[in-house]
Amino acid sequence: MKKSIVTVIVSVLLLMPALGNSPKKENDKSLTPENSVVFYGTFRDNKKTVYFQSNQEMNVDRQEFKGSIIVSDPVQPGSNYRLFSFNGKGKRVMKDQYGLPQVFSCEWEGTYAVNYSVFDLKIPVEPGLYYIGNYDGYESSINSKYVENEKDEYKAQIKALKAALKKYKGTEWEKIISEKIEELENEKEN
């Protein structure tokens, strides 16, 4: 009896329509720093962020990021990446009813229309590596930059660059990413 129940449940699950799928992309060696753009940055406390290329004249593409770090695949210069959905969970300091700062647990989630630009990334026409910033994933300020202080900004940027270095190991991007890390470290020392 138990077996048949399990089989029925499995068959029900198989019959349900699959809700979208996310193919795993390999690094395309033909997309180099000379002909494409890689963008990086962070969305604080985001669990999943999905961007899609919204200009119908340009390549069809979707970029999905798990966790707070954003490191894109090489994308077409001059294209437009539009936020489609995101969700996350974190703690935020907000004022309570007496105007005193309190720590609140927040959870956020959003899915947008394909023609609604809640947060567009306009990809530069000039190929290369670009920093998009360190953002707060919390819904009310999704497209406002989150910078508590310079130290945090530096840390977040280095963290994203280190992830980029791992992703692009053995490609032409590796050198550019290493140079950027070095440049930031030198800036900090001075």
């Binding site: 029925v8 029900v12 019959l15 229309a113």
Partner: protein
């Protein structure tokens, strides 16, 4: 043996029930609106000249879903809807088809200041929007004057001409198909319910 029969029965039942739950709204029988409210009857048609398959490719839509027609979600009037507890009307309708909605009449007027959701590749029988629905938002700002004591109101066929990656609305037309609508309404809801004409107009602010 008994186990086998039970198992086969369960499988057959599942196979029968799934398609049934997927498309349960065909023609709705509407009940009379409460005092101060009316039943709205109209059509929304969105003509998009952009490349909608761009989104099918972007979101890896399955081959069978690419042939689905588009739907729209009925916009909510400015005055809150007055759905009767006993009757929940379908709010996702195939593009170009009739919809019914209940609305309160305030100072003889029905006003809209909302968004029209165009749902690409969405079956008309779908009952709710999910995270994987591909949506485009279009502005929906209209108003109409409702004659006193009328209960069933035809608001017109609202035709949107939309283009480009940003679904820019190039033109909106309110087409008066009252004669045809009256025939269709009587066929669906019975001769005793009289449909009056109160076409929507673009809202003047």
């Amino acid at each position: 043996m008994k186990k086998k029969i039970k198992f086969t029965f369960a499988i057959i039942l599942t196979l029968i029930l799934f398609p049934l739950t997927a498309q349960k709204n065909k023609e709705v029988k509407i009940s009379e609106p409460e005092d101060g409210a009316v039943v709205l009857y109209g059509k929304i048609k969105i003509i998009y000249n952009g490349n909608k398959y761009f989104y099918a490719d972007t979101f890896n839509l399955k081959e069978e879903d690419r042939n689905e027609s588009d739907s729209y979600k009925i916009p909510v009037p400015l005055q809150a809807n007055c759905h009767r507890k006993s009757q929940k009307l379908p709010d996702i309708i195939e593009n170009g088809n009739y919809f019914y909605d209940y609305a309160w009449v305030v100072r003889n007027k029905i006003k809209y200041n909302s968004l029209l959701n165009l749902l690409l590749f969405t079956k008309p029988g779908v009952t709710k929007i999910t995270d994987s629905t591909i949506i485009a938002w279009l502005p929906f700002c209209f108003e109409c004057s409702v004659p006193k004591k009328e209960k069933y109101v035809y608001i017109g066929t609202i035709v949107y001409y939309v283009s480009g990656s940003d679904f820019k609305v190039d033109r909106v037309e309110i087409v008066d198909d009252y004669d045809q609508a009256k025939i269709d309404f009587s066929k669906a809801q019975g001769e005793d319910k009289q449909l009056c004409r109160a076409l929507l107009e673009i809202k003047k602010e």
